[in-house]
């Protein structure tokens, strides 16, 4: 019995250390790749004035699809901001997804909406549509009022009546920068094979927002949003850039992504049976298009920005991470044919195994690893080298990677101009690894268990709107 326990602990420790080492290696490599790409990208931005070409007639019309469920507090401001984007030809399709508050009423009042009709251009099954409305003040604003069916269902309802070659998904509580669409359409013009483009999603908490625009960028005075800023920087400026370089992106954030309508419609639209519809769609696009011998490109571009409000409470954050983990596992489970399948190139051979092992099983390995570490200490079967290695891998590597992400931000976009914010970001990069990261893994483990138990509720964190935080003094 004792021998068995010792062997078990030994195996778990080896797996955990290997996991930490592989994860660290991946992130280090991706940071280097990202550094190379971001430098080249900055030079490329300088050398080609595509914005000039786009504004002179090359810009393809875009439809902004905005699902809204109980967004009465922020939807008018968000839609107003969307109607003032710097883009030659676009329309906004808001979907009121069976809201139980006054979302539809406030939209009708604010934009003088009247009932109309619109022939669907694609047949995508959705929950019944009650009516379609159009603004008398803004010719390019449409609202679809339908019965509640979830975010994917709402997106499908908008996609069905969308007639533009490109569409953009954006959350009702997100803010697009005025030139975000111009910047995000650029890859579509420069490469015929591009089917989806993701922009960077940044945390708005703490910044000053007026009339749907971010007027000055500041870090939130609260710790939790700051930690998420570092997380977002690492995820977008390091990991997503690297996957994009390898043409193996498996995710374009639902908070801000542009897609070719014909490709998405041909793939069947959004799946309504997963909570990770954004990732599932991308994996499906890879799968369906490569099956037809077309290698689609899914591109991440770091300069178009969508600002989003991140959860400020542990409960809200727990629900969000739990949902993200479920979405990840559901998407991967549904397309397991991709695993180590050379037909799908880097997607099948590299990205899928990475997401499955390091992101999908990661929380399980890590949490079990922490338990095994504690048992190892408890039974005294440890050496100083082991303890140092474990703690260093679990904490130090995380700090290094977060510091690298902050460095990439400083190298490229420098959205936080104050010295104090830069120093706070580095502090957050350290603090993140002392409890927050472990807590995150715990929530994700709960998500994994929920998938195994077949749970499918949405789990949205509560929103507080774009006003300043009550204790905002920084």
């Amino acid at each position: 019995m004792t021998d068995l326990l010792v062997r078990l602990v030994w195996v778990v420790n080896v797996v955990t250390l290997s996991y930490f080492t592989i994860l660290a290696t991946f992130y280090l490599v991706s940071s280097v790749l990202a550094f190379r790409f971001l430098r080249r990208y900055a030079l490329r931005l300088k050398s080609v004035d595509v914005e000039d070409l786009i504004s002179s007639g090359a810009a393809p019309p875009v439809a902004l699809l905005v699902p809204a469920h109980n967004e009465e507090r922020s939807c008018v401001e968000s839609v107003r901001a969307l109607l003032t984007l710097n883009y030659p030809e676009y329309e906004v399709i808001v979907v009121n997804d069976g809201s139980t508050d006054r979302t539809l009423d406030v939209l009708i009042e604010a934009f003088d909406l009247v009932r109309t009709t619109r022939l669907p251009s694609a047949e995508l099954p959705t929950q019944p549509i009650r009516r379609i409305l159009r603004s008398r003040r803004h010719n390019n604003l449409w609202v679809v009022d339908k019965e509640n069916g979830g975010k994917s269902d709402a997106l499908n309802a908008a996609l069905a009546i969308c007639r533009t070659p490109l569409f953009c998904t954006i959350d009702a509580d997100s803010i697009l920068e005025p030139d975000a669409l111009l910047r995000a359409t650029r890859p579509f013009l420069e490469d015929d094979r591009v089917v989806a483009v993701g922009g960077i999603v940044r945390v708005v908490n703490g910044s000053a927002v007026e009339q749907g625009r971010v007027r000055s960028v500041r870090l939130s005075p609260r710790l939790l949003p700051r930690l998420q800023v570092v997380e977002y920087l690492r995820a977008f400026l390091s990991a997503r850039v690297a996957w994009s370089e390898l043409n193996a992106s498996l995710i374009v954030s639902g908070a801000f992504g542009l897609f070719r309508r014909d490709m998405v419609v041909a793939a069947g639209g959004y799946s309504t049976t997963t909570v990770g519809e954004d990732m599932e769609l991308i994996v499906r696009l890879h799968r369906t298009q490569r099956t037809r011998d077309f290698v689609p490109r899914v591109v991440f571009v770091p300069d178009p920005v969508a600002w989003t409000e991140c959860p400020e409470t542990l409960g809200g954050l727990a629900r969000q991470r739990n949902r993200w983990q479920r979405g990840l596992l559901e998407s991967l489970g549904r397309h397991r044919r991709l695993l180590f399948n050379p037909r799908y190139g880097a997607v099948g051979m590299l990205a899928y195994p990475y997401f499955l092992v390091l992101e999908g099983f990661g929380p399980v390995i890590e949490i079990v690893g922490y338990v095994a570490f504690a048992v190892t200490l408890l039974i005294g079967a440890w050496s100083p080298t082991f303890v140092v290695s474990f703690v260093a891998l679990a904490v130090l590597v995380g700090i290094a990677l977060s510091a690298a992400a902050v460095a990439l931000e400083e190298l490229t976009f420098r959205r936080y101009p104050r010295w104090v914010d830069l120093l706070r970001l580095f502090t957050a990069a350290i603090v993140e690894n002392l409890g927050y990261r472990q807590l995150n893994q715990f929530w994700r483990l709960q998500g994994t268990i929920a998938v195994l138990r077949g749970q499918r509720h949405w789990g949205s964190p509560p929103r507080r709107g774009f006003g300043p935080p009550a204790d905002s003094s920084a």
Partner: protein
């Protein structure tokens, strides 16, 4: 339970050699973490210094620049405010200006830049693609006349990015002797969308229409380039291209090209072209059917109303939408209202939508 476990300490193989390698790795990571932090702080300091330097440079140049642009001072006056070694920065400064001004002022900008452009042109032979592209952009924006030979050379650069930047620069000015070379060079840019190429080449202006007609009529040119030519000619409303379009729409099988030719006919076609186009409303390809319907809607007359009504029942929504739009443009609101009442649900939705648009506009 714990006591017997403590005796197993020696048996647990966790304290030995593999960790040495791991510790070395961790040491590197630790150094990396410190390096990232230090690098970021230095970078911040450097960026702030650069920003201050730029602000000072602009403060020196802006007043003189404005005087030069309004004719209150000669271009040479700017040289007085430049320090030795400022050439590269000055070129960057002028490029920023170049994006904001047009016409005569832009020519003046070229004159101001001329003595300093050598600083950028050195990068035309750089091994770095982005540097070559940036240098090409600088000479294209600020010295397209002086550096025309280099720009034409850049069309043959192995990197499509450089070729694209050169083509953008050369498309700003029509020169009869180079125009075909510029147009044909864009066929190398296979990844660029038609839309972007059209936007780029349209800047050559209607005087270049003859060259686009030549490309359009030449079946040996790549279909994508001919598609671009057709779209550019449609943008020019080039009447002479109508007959070529009619001939080619019957000869080619490329869908994109056929659609572009029909769009060209929609702009410049005449009643004489309708017979051929009417046959295309039953084409197996929905994109061609839709383009044919649009062309007929633009050029056709009362005799085509029945054909448009039939197209309302096309199985592909897009064709039906084009037919409804065509009916709307015919101005027969009474007919639309009748159709909304008497036809199936789909046509009814479509007609109501079209009528709403009429009421709203």
């Amino acid at each position: 339970m714990i006591l017997p476990l403590l005796d197993t300490r020696a048996a647990l193989p966790l304290s030995d050699r593999g960790f040495v390698v791991l510790l070395v790795f961790l040491g590197i990571v630790a150094l990396g973490a410190v390096a990232f932090v230090v690098a970021s702080l230095l970078l911040r300091a450097r960026n702030n210094a650069i920003a201050r330097g730029w602000a000072a440079f602009e403060a020196r140049c802006d007043p003189v620049m404005l005087d030069v642009l309004v004719g209150a001072a000669p271009p040479a006056a700017l040289r007085a405010v430049l320090a030795p070694g400022d050439d590269r920065r000055f070129i960057e400064y002028l490029l920023r200006y170049g994006r904001r001004i047009r016409g005569q002022e832009r020519l003046l900008l070229g004159e101001i830049a001329a003595p300093h452009l050598y600083a950028a042109s050195g990068d035309l032979r750089s091994r770095n693609v982005e540097r070559r592209a940036r240098a090409t952009q600088a000479i294209g924006e600020l010295g397209p006349g002086v550096y025309r030979t280099e720009l034409l050379e850049a069309l043959r650069d192995p990197a499509p990015l450089v070729c694209m930047v050169a083509a953008v620069a050369l498309s700003r000015e029509y020169r009869a002797e180079d125009v075909l070379r510029v147009i044909r060079a864009t066929s190398r840019l296979t990844l660029l969308t038609t839309r972007l190429l059209v936007s780029m080449l349209q800047r050559l202006g209607p005087q270049a229409a003859w060259a686009f007609r030549e490309v359009l009529a030449d079946a040996s040119e790549p279909p994508k380039l001919r598609t671009v030519a057709a779209k550019v000619l449609a943008g020019f409303n080039d009447q002479e291209a109508g007959d070529i379009a009619l001939r080619e729409v019957q000869a080619t099988t490329d869908t994109d090209l056929r659609v572009a030719l029909l769009q060209l006919l929609q702009r410049v076609g005449s009643a004489e072209h309708l017979d051929v186009v009417r046959r295309l409303v039953t084409d197996p390809d929905a994109a061609v059917r839709g383009a044919a319907i649009r062309m007929i809607g633009a050029i056709g007359g009362e005799s085509d109303l029945a054909l448009l009504q039939t197209a309302l029942d096309d199985p592909v929504s897009w064709v039906a939408i084009h037919a409804a739009e065509a009916l709307r443009r015919s101005g027969r609101t009474d007919l639309l209202e009748t159709l909304a009442r008497t036809r199936g649900r789909r046509s009814s939705i479509l007609m109501s939508e079209v009528l709403f648009r009429d009421a709203g506009s």
